[in-house]
Amino acid sequence: MKDQPNTPRTPDEVGVPDPFQYMHPVMKANYGNWDWHERPRPGVLRHVAKSGDVIYTVRAGTQRQMDVFTIRKLCDIGDKYADGHVRFTTRSNIEYLVADQGKVAPLIEALESEGFPVGGTGASVSMVSHTQGWLHCDIPGTDASGVVKGLMDMLHKEFVQEKMPNRLRITTSCCQINCGGQGDIAVNVQYTKPPKINHDLVANVCERPAVVARCPVAAIRPAMVNGKPSLEVDEKKCVCCGACYPPCPPMQINGDDSTKIAVWVGGKHSNARSKPTFHKLAVANLPNNAPHWPEVNDVVRRIVEAYKADAKHWERMGEWIDRIGWNRFFEMTNLAFTKHHLDTWTGARKTMNMSAHLHF
C-alpha cells in the first residue's frame, strides 16, 4: 500500500482511545478509589480519594458548537491557571481538573472574565442538552443552538448558583425525532400538519414500501398520482409525527407556520428515589419564533420558577408534580389542561388514574 502514493491511507482502527494518556495524574493514581466529595461553591467539586489525595473540578459552560478560537482560549486558561487536563461532561460543560486548591479561585476568575459561566453543579440548572437544528441537520423543524442560547441566557443565574430544589435538566430537540433526551423540562418540535407531498419527486427519491413501514399509525399507502407512483396520507389517521420525512424528503413535514414547539416536563433519567420516567406534555402549539422564541422561554421560566418556589429539597420536577398534583402544576404555571393531555398511544390506559386518589 505505502508505495502507491495515490491509494488512500488504510485507517488505523484504534477504536475508543485510551483516556489514561489524557487523564489528570491524581485521577489516574486514585482511579476507582475515591471516597467522598463536596461542593465548596457552585461550579466547584472537591473529590477526596481514599488515599487522602484531593482533586478539584471547576465546571464552566460553553456553547458546545465551538470555533477553534474558543477552544484554544479554553486551553490557554487551562494551561495558565490549571494543570492542562480537562474533560467535557455529558451536558457539554468543560471541567478543569486541578490538584492545587490555590489554583481554583484564579481559574474561576479567568473563566468568568472570558465569558464562561462557572456553575452547573449540584442543584443548579445545567447546560441545555443540545442538538443540530438548522445549522446542520437535514430534517429540522427549528434551530438548536439558538434555542439553547436563548434558554441559557435566561437561566444563566440558575447555572451559576445552586438554588434549585434539586438539579434541573433541560433538553431540546429540533424535530420530532427527538435526539435530545428526556428532561425535567423538554423543549421539542411538535408538528401540527400532515406532510405535504411533492408527488413529482416521490417515485425517484423514496423507497415506497420502506416509507409505508415507517408510519406508526399505518396512515400511508402507495397510490398513483397524476399517473406516477406516489404515496398518499390518510390525514384523519396521521399523527403528524414526521417519521415519513427522513426516508422520503418529498413528504415535507415542516412548514414555516405549522411547525410548532411543545414543552414537556417531569422526565428523569436517574434512579434516585423514583424510577426513571418519561417527560409529560405541559403545553403544545407554541410558535417557532426565531431568533428569541419568547413564548417558549416564557413558559420555561414559569415552570422553573414554580418548581423553585414550591418543591422540597431533593424533589426532581416530576417528583414535585406527583406530590402536589398535576392540577396544581397547571394552575401554578398558568397553563391549560386539554384533551390532548390525555394519552391515546399504546398503553395509554395505564397512564389513566384508575383509583380514587385525587388532588384538589
Binding site: Q176, N178, N188, Q190, T192, K193, P216, V217, C238, V239, C240, C241, S258, K260, A262, G266, F278, H279, K280, L281, A282, V283, A284, N285, K312, G318, I321, D322, R323, I324, G325, W326, N327, R328, F329, F330, L335, A336, F337, T338, K339, H340, H341, L342, D343, T344, W345, T346, A348, R349, T351, M352, N353, M354, S355, A356, H357, L358, H359, F360
Partner: protein
C-alpha cells in the same frame, strides 16, 4: 343424619363419599346444610337436594361440571333468572331444573330476622331451600328452582317487597357499603344514591336490551369496601375537597398510646405523598394540597382525623374482570360531584342515565363500557358525554408525542374559560 331406609320417602339416598369429607373442620359446612335439606326439608327440598348432592358428588369424582343454560323468565321481565338444566338428569332427575332467582337486597344489606324468615318460608315451599347471602354482585341468590315454580317463588318474594336483580346483557344489581348507617368515614348517603340510580334505570335491568352487562357500585369512601373500582362499570366513591379535620388533642393521645416511632412508621412514612409530618409536640401537620384522599391516616387515627366537610363523590368508569381484553379498573371520569342537596342527587342521576345511554348506543355487542373507552380513546368518551378533561383523570399527562395538536389553542381556551367560570362561581358563592 337419619339412616338410609327411613328417609326421603323411601328413595335411595345417593352416596356422597367425596362431599362427606367436607363436613369436618371448623368452618360451617354447606354440605351439612344441604344434607339437612335432603333429610329434613320440605318434600320438594328433599327430593331435589338428594339428586343435587348426587350430581355434585359426581362432579367431584370426575372434576367436571354438569349444568347447562337455557331460557327461563317470569311474566313481565326478561332477566333476573339464571336457568340451569342438568346434563346428567338421567341419573339425577329431581334436580334436572335448578334455576337461580337473583333478588335485589335492600341497599346496604340490612335485614330483620323477620324478613329473613319470610324468605326462608317462601323458598322452602317453592325452591330448594338453599339461599346465598349474597352473590358477588350483591344479589340474594335463591338457588335451585324448577321452571314451573319460578313464577310462584318470584310472586311471593315480590309480594313481600323484593324484586328481581340483573342477569344477561342488562343493568345489574348494585352494591353499596354499610356507609352512612354505621361508618364514620362515609362521605355521602350511599342508600339514596344507590336507590336513586338503580330504581330510575330499572327498566334496563328487567328488560335486557343493553350491549352487555352494566354494573354500579357505591362506596362511601376510598377504602372501597364494595370493590367498586375493579368490579363496577360505574363506581361511585365518596371523597371530600377541603381539609382533613384534625383533633390535635386526640392526635396527641394516639401518639402517647402508640408511641412516637410507631406513629412515624405507620402514619407519616406510609402517606403516599409525604403529606404528613409529625411536629415536635406530637401534633401533626397535613399538607392538604399534597393529600390524595387515600384514607390511610384517617383509618389509622380514626378518632383524631376525619374527612373534610365539603363532601361528595368521584366517579370511575370502566371496571371489569378478565374477558376479552383483560382486567380493567375504572378510570376517574368525574373527580368531584357534590352530593348533598336534592339537586345534587338529580345531577348524579342524570349523569348515570347519560352514561348508560352512551353505552347502549355506542358499545359493540358483548362489550363492556371500559372496553368501549379503550377502543375509542378517553378523549372521545369525554366529548360524547360533554365532560371537560381534568388532570385528576390521569396519573400524568401524555408521554407520547404522537398526537395532532393544531387545535391546541382552542382546547386551551376551554380550560381557561372553565377556570374563569369556576373562579366566578366561587366569588358569587362567597
Amino acid at each position: 343424619m337419619k339412616d338410609d331406609e327411613t328417609q326421603n320417602a323411601g328413595r335411595q339416598v345417593h352416596p356422597t363419599p367425596l362431599l362427606d369429607e367436607l363436613e369436618d373442620g371448623p368452618w360451617p359446612s354447606f354440605i351439612t346444610g344441604i344434607k339437612r335439606l335432603r333429610d329434613e326439608g320440605s318434600e320438594g327440598n328433599q327430593k331435589m337436594m338428594n339428586d343435587l348432592l348426587g350430581q355434585l358428588n359426581h362432579s367431584y369424582e370426575n372434576r367436571m361440571g354438569y349444568w347447562k343454560g337455557g331460557t327461563v323468565s317470569v311474566f313481565g321481565y326478561g332477566g333476573g333468572i339464571i336457568p340451569r338444566f342438568s346434563e346428567v338428569a338421567d341419573k339425577f332427575p329431581e334436580s334436572k331444573e335448578f334455576h337461580t332467582l337473583r333478588v335485589m337486597p335492600p341497599a346496604g344489606y340490612h335485614y330483620t330476622t323477620d324478613i329473613l324468615r319470610k324468605m326462608c318460608d317462601i323458598w322452602e315451599r317453592h325452591g330448594s331451600g338453599l339461599i346465598a347471602f349474597h352473590g358477588q354482585s350483591g344479589d340474594i341468590m335463591f338457588q335451585g328452582c324448577t321452571t314451573e315454580n319460578t313464577q310462584k317463588a318470584f310472586d311471593e318474594l315480590n309480594e313481600i317487597g323484593f324484586d328481581l336483580g340483573g342477569a344477561g346483557p342488562a343493568l345489574r344489581t348494585a352494591m353499596s357499603c354499610v356507609g352512612h348507617a354505621r361508618c364514620e368515614q362515609s362521605c355521602y348517603d350511599e342508600v339514596r344514591a344507590h336507590r336513586t340510580i338503580i330504581n330510575k334505570l330499572l327498566d334496563e335491568m328487567h328488560r335486557p336490551a343493553l350491549p352487555y352487562k352494566f354494573k354500579f357500585k357505591f362506596s362511601g369512601c376510598a377504602n372501597d369496601c364494595v370493590n367498586a373500582i375493579h368490579r363496577a362499570d360505574f363506581a361511585v366513591i365518596g371523597t371530600w375537597r377541603d381539609d382533613i379535620k384534625i383533633d390535635q388533642e386526640k392526635v396527641k393521645e394516639h401518639v402517647a398510646e402508640k408511641g412516637r416511632k410507631y406513629t412515624i412508621d405507620t402514619v407519616v412514612s406510609m402517606c403516599p405523598t409525604r403529606a404528613i409530618s409529625l411536629n415536635d409536640d406530637d401534633t401533626i401537620e397535613i399538607d392538604n394540597r399534597s393529600c390524595v384522599r387515600c384514607m390511610h391516616c384517617i383509618n389509622v387515627m380514626t378518632k383524631a382525623l376525619s374527612p373534610g366537610d365539603d363532601r361528595g363523590v368521584s366517579i370511575m368508569i370502566g371496571g371489569k374482570r378478565a374477558l376479552k381484553i383483560g382486567d380493567l379498573m375504572g378510570i376517574m371520569v368525574v373527580p368531584f360531584m357534590r352530593l348533598k342537596t336534592d339537586e345534587d342527587f338529580d345531577k348524579l342521576e342524570d349523569f348515570a342515565e347519560r352514561v348508560v345511554e352512551f353505552f347502549a348506543e355506542n358499545a359493540l355487542e358483548h362489550e363492556r363500557v371500559g372496553e368501549t373507552i379503550d377502543r375509542i380513546g378517553l378523549p372521545a368518551f369525554l366529548e360524547a358525554l360533554d365532560i371537560e378533561p381534568d388532570p385528576n383523570m390521569v396519573n400524568h399527562p401524555r408521554t407520547s408525542c404522537y398526537v395532532r395538536t393544531d387545535d391546541f389553542d382552542e382546547e386551551a381556551a376551554k380550560w381557561f374559560e372553565r377556570k374563569a367560570r369556576e373562579a366566578g362561581l366561587q366569588i358569587s358563592a362567597e
